[in-house]
Amino acid sequence: MLDFIIAKYNFWIYVVLMMIGLFAMLAKRNLVKKLIGMNIFQTAIILYYVSIGVKKGKVHVPILVGAHGHGEHLFKAADYLNPLPHVLMLTAIVVSIATTGVALAVLILIYRRYNTLNEDEIIELRQAEQEAEV
């Protein structure tokens, strides 16, 4: 069992992180904490992608010297890291930053309107508003 955990430790770490994020999003009442939970959730997935591109002991970065007709060179794919997941994650990091930025801006709007960031209090205030309308 322990071997099983150690052999795939990167997966375990990302799953644990992801669940921490999910828990924060579900259980925390403060909206900023929910946002931080969302960030942890996204970061967990980014770490998962980054970890699958890594090969132990093979630290070459695939810069192809032999490419584009600059002489012959033999390559073994197993000697090289897979750069694609890392490149993909650059985009995903940008997406996650943009989401955080928008969410923070929205939180400022919420705070201006309700003067609190506690979800329970906001829900009470909203209900009071709706009753006042009726």
Partner: protein, 500 residues
């Protein structure tokens, strides 16, 4: 000119994307140009999408390799009959919304039209990007761009729009992250992100747990994005508090684009037997869809506000699309596509009309709609056509999509689905005809005998820039209804040949 048409798949994304980034600059020079600019750019995109659709109908699917890189490595755009149809729908709805946005943004977002226009363009671009691309990671990026622009646009709405938006952000991000994780699982088991390449590689791996998990994660992520019951709770508040133009484009398009992705995953990425034999998730999906179309309609009846009622009706309609997809037979598949077409036209028409009502009345409480048929005859005419299509009265497009769905349920031999379908139609009648009743007929006179004259009511239609899109959307409902056999012949049948 021929070389130009070959570049349409790239230009249809690149031009609106660049234009979206230029819009704030243009806005600082002169704010008045933003509206014509928006119409011009989306009009260009609409023309290009028509060109692409014509090309697909006459000479079959188009492949376009971005930057000349071959598919498994580069990002390839592959446009078959399904994408071509979706592109026309998205850019068409976008064009109607762009026309409408002039007076609507000026009233609801005074002083903020520039940024709203920029986000609006970004939203339409990214939705077109989702449907045009053949690369799963590219889909994620466009999915997030579309969500981010929707968050921004919804948050500038009235009332408690920010809080509704925050919920939408949390749920939308979980959905997108699930999808991304699913793509990651497919990547570690195959090493590819290209949809066509993956569909070739995956059949050998159907019994791998990683692939099963990937399928489940992607479908759950998309169900969140399309607000399939029981993952729908974020939708009504968010769409309700959005500005009129935004809800009139977000409501018809977002859930349907997610529906399109679901079709791609179930029928194209995996073979359909995977979701029937190996991993029978379609059974779960179809039951969730049946509950969605009943619960959505029941909630809609309970609403006292027209726009809120329509938001719940969006949830019900998601049920029709998913049911069609999850039946996994020819009629069901056809009905899913026809429902997407009819829903985009109908929801766009109804939400545009509701936006016009809010423009005039200030709110959309159903009690306030009295005499509206005399005050706003054209808007209400369009609304009535939309309501007929929602219920499924011929010759509107809603009738034909429901007919195919009924055939699909008959083919599947599931009588519970048929009963639920008929039930939900009756529920649709209840909640739409209630609105028409209030708006059209006066309260009955005490002794059924009118003494005094009818109260004088002046016609107060909305500005032409808003009325024209409403009437065009209403026309499109009738046109797609009468032309539904043409759509089936030219778009659905070629797809059926590939899938079944």
């Amino acid at each position: 000119m021929n070389g130009m048409t070959q570049q349409f798949p790239a230009l249809i994304i690149v031009i609106p994307l660049l234009a979206a980034l230029l819009t704030p600059l243009l806005g600082t020079l002169t704010r008045r140009l933003c509206h014509p600019w928006l119409v011009l750019i989306i009009g260009c995109a609409f023309c290009m999408s028509l060109g692409i659709a014509a090309q697909v109908i006459t000479s079959g699917p188009i492949s376009y390799n971005m930057g000349g890189w071959e598919p498994p490595w580069g990002i390839a755009y592959r446009i078959d009959h399904l994408n071509a149809l979706m592109l026309v729908l998205i850019s068409g709805t976008g064009l109607l919304g762009a026309l409408y946005s002039g007076p609507s943004f000026a009233k609801e977002l005074p002083g903020r039209q520039t940024y709203a226009s920029a986000l609006y363009l970004l939203m339409i671009t990214s939705l077109m990007g989702i449907v045009i691309t053949g690369d799963l990671f590219n889909v994620f990026v466009f999915l997030e761009i579309s969500s981010l622009s929707a968050y921004g646009l919804i948050a500038c709405g009235s009332g408690d729009a920010p809080f509704a938006t925050f919920r939408y952000i949390i749920m939308g991000t979980i959905g997108a992250s699930c999808y991304l994780l699913g793509v990651g699982y497919l990547y570690i088991s195959t090493g590819s992100l290209n949809l066509a390449d993956l569909s070739r590689l995956l059949p050998q791996l159907y019994h791998s747990h990683v692939v099963l998990t990937a399928g489940a994660l992607m479908l759950v992520g998309l169900s969140l994005k399309m607000a399939l019951f029981p993952l729908h709770a974020w939708l009504p508040d968010a769409y309700y508090s959005a500005p009129s133009t935004v809800s009139a484009t977000v409501a018809p398009l977002y859930t349907k684009v997610a529906g399109y992705l679901m079709i791609r995953i179930i029928y194209y990425l995996f073979e359909r037997r995977f979701f029937v034999e190996v991993f029978p998730i379609t059974t779960i999906l179809s039951w969730a869809a049946v509950v969605a179309l009943l619960i959505g309609s029941i909630y809609a009846i309970a609403q006292k506000d027209l726009k809120k009622m329509l938001c719940y009706s969006v949830i019900a309609q998601v049920g029709y699309i998913v049911l069609g997809i999850a039946l996994v037979n020819k009629a069901g598949f056809s009905s899913a596509i026809l429902t997407i077409v009819s829903e985009v036209c109908t929801k766009s028409c109804i939400f545009l009309a509701t936006g016009a009502i809010i423009y005039r009345l200030g709110n959309s409480r159903i009690d306030n709609l009295r005499h509206l048929f005399r005050r706003m005859p054209y808007t209400m005419l369009a609304f009535t056509i939309g309501a007929f299509s929602m219920v499924g009265i011929p010759p509107t497009s809603g009738f034909f999509s429901k007919l195919y769905l009924l055939f699909g349920c008959l083919e599947a031999g599931n009588w519970v689905f048929i009963a639920a379908l008929l039930c939900s139609t009756i529920l649709n009648v209840i909640y739409f005809f209630r609105v028409i009743k209030v708006a059209c007929f006066e309260d009955p006179q005490p002794e059924y005998q009118r003494q005094e004259a009818y109260p004088a009511i002046e016609v107060e239609e909305v500005p032409a820039a808003m009325l024209i899109p409403i009437l065009l959307a209403a026309t499109s409902i009738i046109a797609t209804g009468l032309g539904s056999f043409w759509i089936v012949d030219n778009f659905v049948k070629p797809l059926l040949k590939v899938v079944f």
